[in-house]
């Protein structure tokens, strides 16, 4: 009964967007804010009702589909505009609408001085609508509407200050890089249709074990293509460079889109397709290594940046790397768990940085901050709590979620993956506390003309709530005993995958092709849950986090001169500080050759080559006619001569 409300969830933000978009300038800022935030609030409430409805249904029946209409059809291809509610999408909906609502409220305060306040809220609501479509769609193509929709909103919002060239460039860059991922996603969808004759999630995932061969070429290609799509959206190597630039957008946007929700869509998509990925061990390994690699890679860049938002941006890239690492070793619950806790603490961190920037009238450089903790107590406390959470300090949420990922990386993956994870954890603790120390502690380096002040209630209340969630969010997944792991039990049915029958089917399929199926029985033995290993790992990761914090303390509080003397003139440091020059590399190897090549195509091939030959033909004809004209001289003696010549030639030929 309650589940029938599903359609309302995305509808509210859509209505909000339409009202604000068309009437925004007339109804005034207060009304715009109320409608914008209220629409998302209503969505959140509705989501709670649906959640209640889903909890009340028996575990095995927790998949609810609602088809509104057929979107497109051609031949036997048909796509419905329909929603699917299951524990996975439910989890996403809850935190997306919940965190989204808080950020909307915060934005009312943060954006209040803006002239085009309404435009901001219209975009933000449109984003919520698209994000919900992405989560709730019951097939690949509907997910793709949301998928590109959020990308498009992100483009609008990054380029919100459209008079700034850097903001426009960042927006275009984000869109184009996302499109590279979307290109792969689209190909994957076509491939899936080619194999399954359908693109409905339920149909495809049910049929996957029967139609695909374990570790076969097809499933590997499909999953790798999907993963490239995920890389674009979730800013993983090599498609991550757009995300740091996306910080050109207003800070609430960074919090909502570029930290809590949109950028995790890639993880969600891969988790959603777990039935396909389970059949493609090669892709899983790729996902894990790309994720782990990104986690470390981005963290190193994060250590060297001075723009407060850029540090957080690289942190986001790195944390999403963690999620992919978890997905890659098959720890889907851990990935979703980290996604949720990350949404809490990273949204809080971004909003906190927004509060700092707001208090300093737009200053983003950490070298011009310091000692802000007395000026902005609430911002400081909430920020500090979230930093502890992301650094992985017991008993905050990040500790549990990160620990679970590390545990699975070791047990289901291998030591290298675990090593990446633990390195990332060390670096995370270091750069986050570097940020906190530089911003809130030490001596004030604030411009003397600026008087830092705490932000209004409308901004601090969301901060407090998010900090509370970042603190207690770990309760969702208390480790050691499976009975206590609420999230695990909740999501379990979605990740249920019958490997035994899948292997049987692929052996059968291989047999049909006349091939011998390899023995894969080791896949069927469940991994043992080793309590002591887990406890030991927990202790280790806790101490690693403390070590990172201590390092930051030494470098930025105790001996502030240390980092400078340490890094000066080091080419390695400069390389990292310049973000490994990846942007420059892309510019030189892709952007410039494309532009130069295109100019060449246009000026040489098109204008001179193709059109030149066309015009050349015309000119040649003109030239020929001009010369042929001389024969028509009008003199009778000439014509007589031609006649004689012709007559003689004919005679000769006939002889």
């Amino acid at each position: 009964m309650l589940l029938k409300l599903t359609g309302l969830v995305p509808l509210f933000p859509l209505i909000g967007c339409i009202i604000n978009g068309f009437l925004g300038l007339r109804i005034g800022k207060n009304a715009v804010g109320l409608i914008g935030a209220g629409a998302v609030g209503l969505s959140f409430l509705t989501t709670l009702f649906i959640f209640a409805g889903l909890v009340m249904t028996p575990v095995e029946e927790r998949v609810f589909e609602q088809v509104l209409f057929t979107w497109m059809s051609a031949g036997d291809f048909a796509v419905d505009f329909g929603f699917q509610i299951d524990p996975l999408s439910m989890t996403m909906m809850l935190f997306v609408t919940g965190v989204g609502f808080l950020i909307h409220v915060y934005s009312i305060g943060y954006m209040h001085e803006e002239y085009s306040f309404y435009r901001f809220f219209a975009y933000l609501n449109l984003f919520m609508f698209s994000m919900l479509l992405l989560i709730m769609g019951n097939n690949f193509l509907l997910m793709f509407i949301g998928w590109e929709g959020v990308g498009c909103c992100s483009y609008f919002l990054i380029g919100y200050y459209f008079e700034k060239k850097s903001a426009c460039d960042a927006g275009t860059k984000a869109f184009v890089m996302n499109r590279v991922g979307d290109f792969a996603f689209l190909l994957a969808v076509m491939y899936i249709f080619n194999i399954f004759g359908s693109i409905d999630f339920t149909t495809v995932f049910h049929a996957a074990p029967e139609k695909l061969i374990y570790d076969g070429e097809t499933v590997t290609i499909i999953t790798l293509l999907l993963f490239v799509g995920a890389c674009g959206k979730s800013a993983q190597i090599p498609l991550y460079t757009w995300l740091p630039d996306a910080m050109e957008g207003p800070t609430p946007v960074s919090a909502l889109i570029h930290a809590a929700t949109m950028v995790t869509a890639g993880v969600y998509m891969v988790v959603r397709c777990n039935a396909l990925f389970a059949l493609a061990p090669l892709s899983m390994t790729t996902v894990a290594f790309v994720g782990g690699g990104t986690a470390v890679f981005a963290a190193t860049i994060g250590m060297t940046q001075f723009d407060i938002k850029r540090v957080l941006a690289y942190s986001t890239v790195s944390q999403i790397g963690y999620m992919f690492l978890a997905v890659g070793v098959g720890a889907y619950t851990a990935a979703i768990f980290h996604m949720v806790t990350h949404a809490f603490f990273k949204a809080c961190l971004f909003l906190g940085s927004g509060s700092v920037i707001h208090g300093l009238h737009g200053e983003q450089d950490m070298r011009k901050m310091g000692a802000l903790k007395d000026h902005m107590p609430i911002t400081f406390i909430t920020f500090f709590v979230s930093t502890l959470a992301i650094a992985g300090i017991f008993p905050l949420s990040g500790f549990f979620s990160k620990d679970e990922i590390l545990y699975h990386a070791l047990m289901d993956g291998n030591v290298i993956l675990w090593g990446m994870g633990i390195t990332g954890a060390l670096l995370t603790a270091f750069y986050m506390f570097r940020l906190v120390f530089m911003t809130f502690f030490g001596e004030s380096r604030v411009d003397p003309h600026v008087h830092p002040h705490e932000s209004p209630k409308v901004m601090t209340v969301p901060l407090v709530i998010l900090a509370g969630l970042a603190f207690f969010g770990g309760a969702l997944g208390i480790p050691l005993f499976h009975g206590w792991h609420v999230l695990h039990n909740w999501l379990e049915p979605v990740f249920h995958f019958d490997m035994a029958s899948a292997l049987e089917h692929s052996a059968h399929l291989l047999h049909e092709q006349g091939k011998h199926a390899p023995s894969l029985t080791h896949l069927l033995e469940p991994a043992e849950h080793n309590l002591w290993v887990e406890v030991a790992l927990m202790a280790l990761s806790f101490s690693i986090a403390v070590a990172g914090i201590f390092g930051a303390y030494m470098c930025y509080i105790k001996m502030p001169h240390l980092p400078a003397s340490f890094t000066k003139g080091q080419w390695g440091y400069d390389l990292v500080k310049n973000k490994y020059e990846v942007d420059e590399l892309y510019d030189e190897t892709i952007v410039k050759p494309t532009l130069e090549g295109s100019t060449l195509l246009w000026k040489e091939v098109d204008a001179k080559g193709i059109d030149g030959s066309v015009n050349g033909t015309a000119k040649t004809l003109g030239w020929l006619s001009n010369h042929a004209r001389t024969f028509q001289s009008g003199f009778v003696r000439n014509y007589a001569l031609f006649m004689v010549v012709g007559f003689i030639s004919l005679l000769i030929i006939s002889l």
Binding site: A74, G75, D76, C152, F162, E163, R179, L187, V614
Partner: protein, 526 residues
Amino acid sequence: MFLTFLTFLPLVGALLLAFIPRDEVGAIKQTALAFAVADFLFSLLLWTNFDASSHAMQFEYSVPWITSWGISYHIGLDGISLLLYVMTTFLTMISIIASWDIQKNIREYMMAFLALSTGMLGVFISLDMFLFYFFWEFQLVPMYLIIGVWGGPQRVYAAVKFFLYTAVGSLLMLVAIIWIYMAIKEQTGIATTDLVFITENLDLPLTPQKWLFMAFFLAFAIKVPMFPFHTWLPDAHVQAPTAGSVILAGVLLKMGTYGFFRFNLPLFPHASYEFMPMIAWLSIIGIIYGALVSLVQEDMKKLVAYSSVSHLGFVMIGIFAFNHYGMQGALLQNINHGISTGALFLLVGIIYDRRHTRQISEFGGLAKVMPKYAICFMIVALSSIGLPGMNGFVGEFLVLLGVFQNNGLWAACATSGVIFAACYILWMFQRVMFQKLDNPENEKLPDMNCREMITVVPLIVLIFWIGLYPKPFLKTFEASVEHLLVKVHPDNFRPGKPGSGHTEHAKLLKVEDIARMNQKLSGAKH
């Protein structure tokens, strides 16, 4: 009879305009608009009365015209031509509204436009080869005049180029038509140019099929335009007046793709199958080449023109996917391109009217002074690059899906076009609309006025309609595509699969239809 009335209504309007004194500008414009609106509204009736479940020609009408050669005035619409017909009347109406401020010889301009409309409509309804050829050449004249008289500085060069290019292509088509006329006479003993009859009865060996295919191909590929026959297009577009560009992109190019559907595929199915790889690669080259060249254009209109080459590549590769998805997608993409590119040309025209330049470098920051314009432009731009939820995506996706079923590599190459499309459109948009407004001439530009909104808003409505609920459109195509597929399905020609289900089916249909056609023809003779 209704169809005849609709087709010639604009021509009647054009003749009527000749009797209005040339200085009565208001009356001239209103009359022209009244005829265009009436024609559009009436043509909607065709759509509502169309039986989408049947592939047969509807609203059919046939009278002998030149009996000694078997030429008749035979017209009708099926699922393939219906929406093109409606779109023609629709865009004619939009174009006339968009031409409201033409100063030079407005009466003659409107006459040319209305005559052009009749010519284009005639192309889509002709079911007689000779009649088709007649309309095909007929519409060239008014378009030639529109570009050559009301165009930009190099209008004469562009107009002549446009005319000659198309005429050269169609000459070979005429030869092919005569060849077919002889062949059908030899095969069936009936001397006729009736397209329906020929489609049902023509059965040629592969070699002549190939030659004839090439002859038609040249005519249509120039019109589409396919790479490398596209160089007339940027010139014609840049020089043509705004409304001329709208019609050129929206309808004239579609006559090329329509030709493939009506002639090449059903008449030479085997040759079509043989040429599939060639066309696919030419289309892919067109898609990528057009996009790359668009990327570096300095003139907005030229950018849009080259983007047409890219978009039409999608249509072509979709047609030659030879399956439901690809062909229906191609037909829809035909319509989509008319809407989106038509709207882009209108929008570029709006800014040209104000500044008399289209150089991208002249602009920047327009979103600040022209917010409505910026929003409209953004929507149209996004639809042009195929954002899901808007029209372009539905067509493109179906096309690509269709291509993928045949060849994954082709699909991958073609899909890469969506990346480049995002690049050229968004980069242009950024340089024109965003960033600092630093050119003082742009500071006082007025936003879109009411008339301009009237031209653009209906197109935007269509963009979302097709994007979110394309079913009414796709359904119109379905039966006709199904029927066409019976003939051109690749399984018919694939070696190693003789006598597959489809071929059997095709033969059964043929016998029935021959009987029906023969009856009809003998009936017409009495």
